[in-house]
């Protein structure tokens, strides 16, 4: 399929679509059978939107992000689906074509700045490298632009000549963001950029990302395991579980009224510093081993609302509120009207 075949449909009331992911699947080649880490994920991300992708370790969120950026390495492989970015299908692009888009049109901020920055090269040198990859740039221009992006993220330009080990963790992470901003791309993909920082630094980095976003209007896809962190800043949230999206809606709606039992459990697992102290339950069990995913709904072994139908059929995505998507039979009219299918499998604890 060529890019021209794909008509991008804008949703009414939402910003124009910048990135359209359709039925994207990623497999890891295993010894016996392939493991599906990302299972038919479809997402549309609008221009200037801040989308949070939330999930626990091993749910496929980082694999999804790497697949979008076309950064997957074997044994991981995209086995199906399309990623349409600004009208071009990234899936069918060759490395050479992708090279023109990377940094300039979309950039990626990696999880650990400690490992992502070159330890034997100054920050300025690394910024210049990125610029040189996209055409000739004079030394003076490189310095000037480098200084201005560092200033954007609140780092003194003297650090152009600093090595990564001379910066604190928070500054390194901000330097990574500065590098992503060199060409002010349309899309910045962030993989847990704050997970190595403590709360105060985390908070100020998030505020800064948000400020930069409102200034330059780029789109952010922010992958994290910490729903509480992203909740304050994201426009929409996608909750992932065992390689699938289980809930997708505006952040406000999800926090106010989570529909999927997994999302409900996640939200209830955060202790709060305000309000009355409550006992937390957490979610029993553990995320499934994707080599042997549970039959039917993948959350059913841990779900407090499990019904007869859950281990037998795979739930689709339903829209109980209209705009949202929830992968749970509780919102399937056919199941809920059928007394046998909706029979609870075990009494609630």
């Amino acid at each position: 399929m060529s890019a021209a075949d794909i008509a991008v449909t804008d949703r009414p009331g939402f910003p124009p679509v910048l990135l359209d992911i359709r039925d994207l699947s990623v497999e890891y080649a295993g010894e016996s059978a392939a493991v599906t880490a990302v299972d038919r994920v479809s997402l549309q991300v609008g221009r200037g939107e801040f989308l949070g992708i939330v999930g626990e370790s091993g749910c496929g969120k980082s694999t999804l992000l790497f697949a979008i950026a076309r950064l997957l390495q074997p044994p991981a492989e995209i086995v199906g689906g399309d990623v349409v970015f600004k009208g071009q299908n990234l899936i069918h692009m060759r490395e050479k074509q992708l090279r023109h888009l990377r940094w300039r049109d979309y950039s990626v901020v990696m999880q650990s700045a400690m490992n992502a920055l070159n330890p034997v090269m100054t920050i300025g040198g690394q910024l210049k490298d990125a610029m040189k990859a996209h055409g000739r740039v004079s030394r003076r221009d490189a310095r000037l632009r480098g200084a201005s992006v560092l200033q954007l993220v609140g780092i003194d330009p003297v650090h152009l000549d600093s090595f990564p080990h001379q910066l604190s963790g928070g500054m390194r992470q901000r330097a990574m963001i500065a590098m992503a901003l060199v060409f002010t791309p349309d899309l910045i993909i962030m993989d847990e950029p704050t997970s190595a920082l403590d709360v105060v630094a985390q908070r100020s980095l998030m505020v800064q990302i948000k400020q930069l976003q409102s200034e330059f209007g780029f789109t952010v896809i922010f992958v994290t395991h910490d729903m509480a962190l992203v909740g304050r800043y994201s426009d929409r949230l996608a909750i992932m579980y065992a390689g699938q999206i289980v809930e997708l809606d505006t952040t406000r709606a999800i926090f106010k009224d989570p529909k999927h039992p997994y999302t409900q459990g996640l939200l209830a697992a955060y202790p709060s510093v305000h309000g009355p102290k409550q006992e937390l339950k957490g979610i029993p069990g553990r995320p499934p081993d994707l080599r042997f995913p549970p039959s039917g709904c993948r959350f059913h072994p841990r779900c407090p609302h499990v019904m007869n139908v859950c281990p037998q059929e795979e739930p689709d995505l339903y829209a109980p509120r209209g705009t949202d998507l929830v992968r749970c039979f509780l919102y399937d009219r056919r199941v809920m009207n059928d007394r046998h299918l909706s029979q609870p499998l075990r009494s609630e604890p």
Binding site: V199, R203, G231, R232, L266, P271, R286
Partner: protein
């Protein structure tokens, strides 16, 4: 006998908890940094007083580099303190030098990373059996197995006999961390020093481990020093809270009191930064771009002054001592007063030059 020294005189001992289990007075740890002839000292922990009573959970909260893990290692006897004293049930640790094994069996540690704290070539129960062999020598082989099963059940790993046979790779992160606690429990400790035990675990698993700590405290009577950067989880488990900043305790008191009436500006900053999914307020948070202080040869003065919105002249010269501002609640701040309005939001001030 315990002597209630001057440093503790302003805290009346809680009648419910009685005599302190473990006490640290003026605990200080400096590390030499730099080259061979460098005389620079990194003040990891400076003059920390801390008391842990039987059957209580004390949380030690601070950002990375605040010295909270060093405190745990000092209390566990891993480091020898530069200065200060550790007193366990009325006896100084220095006087127990010849009998450290019994101290170590009483004060155990649980580490942050459950993936690297279990030896992959042994069964996960290896550590439990080793502790039993070393510290509970009266037990025979059969008794050890029975005891190990009991302990593994205690931390919520059932069926016990099955879990005793498993290797670490067969366990999830949460189960490994439960093994960490089981290993610590095997010696029959009074106190477990838990250094960020849940920070590597997924949110849905975390709650179970936090609940395990409260459970073990209530049912088995084990005290905990819970070290964390997450003040919300500290609130969830802890009876008392200590906040550390740059190697010093800046605030301490009953958890709820500290959270409802934070006195130290750092505690206030920390609280305002906590992401809270249950809060409806979406007020613009303060942006704080200043860096944590360097603690190499810090000199006199309050270490928070570079970030502090209330800084006055005396802060540069005199290190503030902990003062009692509310019942059982102390803070180390020159400006903080008992009647200081707590709801003052920390406003962004023009940044000061770092030293």
């Amino acid at each position: 006998m315990i002597d209630t020294s001057a440093s503790l005189s302003d805290r009346s001992p809680d009648p419910a908890t009685g005599e302190p289990l473990l006490e640290a007075r003026g605990l200080t740890q400096h590390f030499r940094v730099g080259g061979l002839f460098s005389r620079k000292l990194l003040h990891a922990v400076d003059d920390v007083d801390l008391v842990i009573y039987p059957r209580e959970i004390v949380a030690l909260v601070g950002e990375s580099g605040s010295g909270k893990s060093t405190v745990a290692r000092l209390l566990a006897g891993i480091y020898k303190p530069t200065a200060g004293e550790i007193i366990y049930r009325g006896r100084s640790l220095t006087s127990m030098r010849h009998n450290l094994r019994s101290y170590r069996s009483r004060v155990q540690m649980v580490f942050q990373d459950p993936y690297s704290s279990l030896n992959p070539v042994f069964r996960a129960s290896h550590g439990i059996f080793r502790s039993l062999k070393l510290h509970r020598q009266e037990l025979g082989r059969r008794d050890r197995v029975r005891e190990a099963e009991k302990i593994v059940q205690l931390v919520g790993l059932t069926p016990a006999d099955e879990y005793l046979r498993k290797y670490p790779y067969e366990l999830s992160g949460g189960q490994r961390q439960r093994y960490g606690f089981a290993q610590a429990l095997a010696c029959g400790p009074d106190l477990i020093l838990a250094d960020e035990p849940v920070s590597m675990l997924d949110v849905s698993i975390r709650t179970g481990v936090l609940n395990l700590m409260t459970d073990l405290c209530r049912r088995e009577g084990v005290s905990f020093l819970y070290i964390t950067h997450d003040i919300a989880s500290a609130r969830y488990v802890a009876d008392r809270l200590l906040v550390m900043y740059a190697g010093r305790v800046v605030e301490e008191g009953p958890t709820e009191d500290v959270l409802q009436h934070p006195k130290h500006p750092y505690t206030q900053l920390l609280l305002s930064a906590v992401p809270d999914p249950h809060a409806d307020t979406e007020e613009a948070p303060p942006v704080d771009l200043t860096e944590p202080p360097r603690v190499i040869d810090p000199g006199e003065g309050c270490r928070f002054r570079w970030r502090c919105p209330y800084r006055v002249e005396i802060c540069d010269r005199v290190t503030p001592p902990l003062r009692t501002l509310r019942p059982h609640h102390r803070a180390a701040c020159h400006v903080a007063q008992s009647e200081m309005p707590e709801d003052i939001q920390i406003r962004r001030q023009p940044p000061l030059a770092s030293p």
